[in-house]
Symmetry: C2
Subunit: 628 residues, 2 copies
Amino acid sequence: MAVDRSVLIPALHNIATQLRIDSVLSTTEAGSGHPSSCCSAADVVAALFFAEMRFDPRDPQRANNDRFVLSKGHAAPLLYAAWAEAGFFDRAKLLTLRQISSDLEGHPTPRLSFVDVATGSLGQGLGVGVGLALNARRIGSDYRTYVLMGDGESVEGSVWEAANVGSHFDLDHLCGITDVNGLGQSQPTQWQHDMDQYARRWRAFGWEPIVVDGHDLNALLDAFANARATKGRPTMLLARTIKGKGISFVEGKDGWHGRPLKKGEELDRAIKELESQFVKLPQVADPVSLIAKPAPLPPAPKPASPPQIGEPSYAPGEAVATREAYGTALVKLGRADERIVVLDADVGNSTYSEKFFKAFPNRFYEAFIAEQAMLGVAMGLATCGAIAFPSTFACFLTRAYDFIRMACISDLNVKLCGSHAGISIGEDGPSQMGLEDLAMMRAEPNMTVVYPCDGVSTERLVAAIASHRGPAYIRTTRPKTPVIYPATERFEIGGSKVLRQSGQDLVTVVAAGITVYETLKAYDALKADGVSLRVIDAYSVQPIDARTLREAARATGGRVVTVEDHYLDGGLGDAVAEALAEDGWVVRRLAVREIPRSGKPEELLDRFGISAEHIVAAVRTMVAGAKP
Amino acid sequence: MAVDRSVLIPALHNIATQLRIDSVLSTTEAGSGHPSSCCSAADVVAALFFAEMRFDPRDPQRANNDRFVLSKGHAAPLLYAAWAEAGFFDRAKLLTLRQISSDLEGHPTPRLSFVDVATGSLGQGLGVGVGLALNARRIGSDYRTYVLMGDGESVEGSVWEAANVGSHFDLDHLCGITDVNGLGQSQPTQWQHDMDQYARRWRAFGWEPIVVDGHDLNALLDAFANARATKGRPTMLLARTIKGKGISFVEGKDGWHGRPLKKGEELDRAIKELESQFVKLPQVADPVSLIAKPAPLPPAPKPASPPQIGEPSYAPGEAVATREAYGTALVKLGRADERIVVLDADVGNSTYSEKFFKAFPNRFYEAFIAEQAMLGVAMGLATCGAIAFPSTFACFLTRAYDFIRMACISDLNVKLCGSHAGISIGEDGPSQMGLEDLAMMRAEPNMTVVYPCDGVSTERLVAAIASHRGPAYIRTTRPKTPVIYPATERFEIGGSKVLRQSGQDLVTVVAAGITVYETLKAYDALKADGVSLRVIDAYSVQPIDARTLREAARATGGRVVTVEDHYLDGGLGDAVAEALAEDGWVVRRLAVREIPRSGKPEELLDRFGISAEHIVAAVRTMVAGAKP
């Protein structure tokens, strides 16, 4: 920061004023938005962008740029104004805010190249920031990461999960800023302007808290310098601010959250007030000239794309749990491609991600029992070229569903793995059974979902997912299952396998994962009675192999049964039903229809209607109905 | 606690030893489970149950009993052993642990009358405990609430959300205990035995931390007494323990998480060691005689059941947002029934739950922006007879999905409301749009889901949900919609309304919420062209009105279109498809098929394929196909 403070401070002050004006004008033009939440943070953003961060304003995706995450995403107009001020696009575009034709959305999304992750669901930015900071280490860069949060979101548990991970990894190149404007959406925030409430929490969580007047540019610059000088732990700037700062009739007043100024007298008065705050500069300063540029980063090694891992080494008949095959596949992928990183929430010995930890401890990130932090960190890493595999029990991914949702809005390269799917886990009982995971993952329109049944298909599909661009979910099973595919077999996203077929097939049964084996048992039992089944392993649940399913349905007179270790709604049955609806075929679904309980896996499969016996019964009913 | 310590301590010591023996024997018999996690907490539980808590061991549901939540649910065998020791059931039953015929499941569920909520998803117990403590105030009882947590779960964000709410409400009758045994599932816990890491966090969050040797019964009794004497804030006992305590070859060793002792030499040695720890008692003490009984509580006022709120006061054609009608309905219900309580996460002025706050501030619980805490508190209140309505934006309920899942396993009377459903919220963009909420709610088999379209149906359905027993979800819409139903109209769970029908209907269109209005527009447009539609408002999405849908499908030759402001999978379309599959009918679905963006509501409905124009087009295609 070579510029003299006597020159810098007035320039920053004028920039902050311009950011306020832009935020007010754009939200008024849009007819909605949060100008008061922009005004409280305008000085912080002016100081950060134009006197603290090193970045190339013409190239927001440069690998060595300092990073900025706007966790309080509703202050989007302020972010847009800052990038306009930095010369990345024309200020006139700000007035397209929130229009359907504009990428300047109500909350930031990565449709804009200067946005790494979508924000707007409060409490997520810090976890992403932890991931961005860990990425700097991964790629050997000295870039710093800044996360601007609101005070209201400081009670989100996800913030404190991120706080723990940030201090666990000693991320002294991570700096949070809390814009403590004291007013939430519906009322004053939990601690209003009691700065000690914030400071003591952050200190207790191992961070360096720095309380600062968020409208004092000199103090802000000092605070950022202190943050930079702090070693061994992350810093949290606690900026005491006033909501609506700069507009006298809005400042610190209730009733101005998420409310633009009305065109006419109200707007005119605000703009006049703000314009009167411009100071005469000692010299003409082009804001862009103030921005410090990062040093060039040595080029990253060219990644092997897609990673190749050769053939699985499982022999047909060998018993291996798909969760264990997942761990083995991760290690092979990790060897083939340095971009592969793995994240855990203290169940690595159950999901088998610990295999990767043992092989590549530097690319394994332990979040302890904090699933939201695990996802946030994965998202941060994924924005920077990493291929991130966070894994835990399928049921505990529900804890991170909001992060998953936002990862999908951001279309990030996050590859989730949920182990211990379904009632087949047995005695641990319903709290440990993932039975709604397919529903929650399938609901996201850009989520790929695979559900392998054996070691070979698991390894192949994990590799396919690693090469695939975008969010994905791999569902694995607790018990061991026999390998049914030869090592040479190929699996692709959107594919399926016809495991049994003949010219006499009466009914198609579509299964995936553990129910493939129940279906094969049912096949044998029915074959002994002269009833021939077509059996399909629908390992790609989303997208599903509609062509193969429709062919099978046609070949079996539209008689189709689905069977899945998942609740009735939102899973495999729905996916198959949708694929067949175009031809007018309906399906009979076998699925878990009530809250299950503890018991032996095979007892539970039978008790809850998805065992071979139930498949046989469903087929018999269907076949009987087909013989008028 | 009238018993002399010199008598009490040896008695408690023997009880703790018995609890360890029972935990070891039952898990070995089951062949799975967590004996080492039971052993670390056995002294804490012995002291709590037999010398601290006041409860009637023959009547676990007595309203004035002190409450105990086993947040570390994997220590279930310890809980079961304590209740056997307290005489509630025969010790022999402990050996049925984890069997399908036994209610002694792998993790506790409310199938057992002494379990208020299912646990086993770590980090949830404290939020529930906050709800139980708030309930004591609600019913005017002086009962105390105890929550036993593990150290591993202390990094779950939900714990710190609960911590904030607990201190916000000054819950000095709430006492947490963290069993700091230092070992997680896959590795040592984040802070191992560094007790200050815990103490400073709890202190910073406004709790009274008390560090104690978790195997020193005298110290534990003192700590509990100190907790009882602490006023104005909750207490957290930080009990330093040893995992596997009492069994020399397990104590503090890695590799014993979730592993029962092997029958034979291993088990025999453990039991022998434990049995040698029994001390000779100064006098024969019946454990049950040690338990302090609570004072009787004055009988609660007889609740009006079901609450009656009379007719809605909306006039046909009046414009009212269903979210606002929800707030109005809550106030009416609150007036009719004292059991109604409402919870918010700082969006009360958007969900309109603030109407209830203004009318009944004492029955309104503000969790600030902490959705998991909101759910936990609601669950705690619901276990004690309250009818709890937690509400926030539909999209932010994803943040609490794991709590919702566990509330369903517990079959609690929690009535969720998600506002701002779908793309019809407009300019705020995808982060604020609930588009997977129906999928996540419908996946839970015992969840009732309603989605009203106007003020009258909202008020009627909120009342119906209040009277209904079990978890439920109400989906509301941001924009105002005209009232289409007369105030006298009746709505029931599982019902629907046929809004348009004639003998010439060619196609059935099934809609709910905002798309009802698009469908009515499409009806008018098509009618002008001589194409007659049957229009159904499927306000009860789960259970859905299969009978009416099937009648309509039959009447329109199986031509059915669904249209919903939700992603394609898991919503209304799937519900209708499932209902019609039995008759062999398939549906054509209009739904949001990609990640949306900011824009005006009407622009978005059109851009993402669910506007009247798209319905008209879908119907025309269908009708054209029907004329060969």
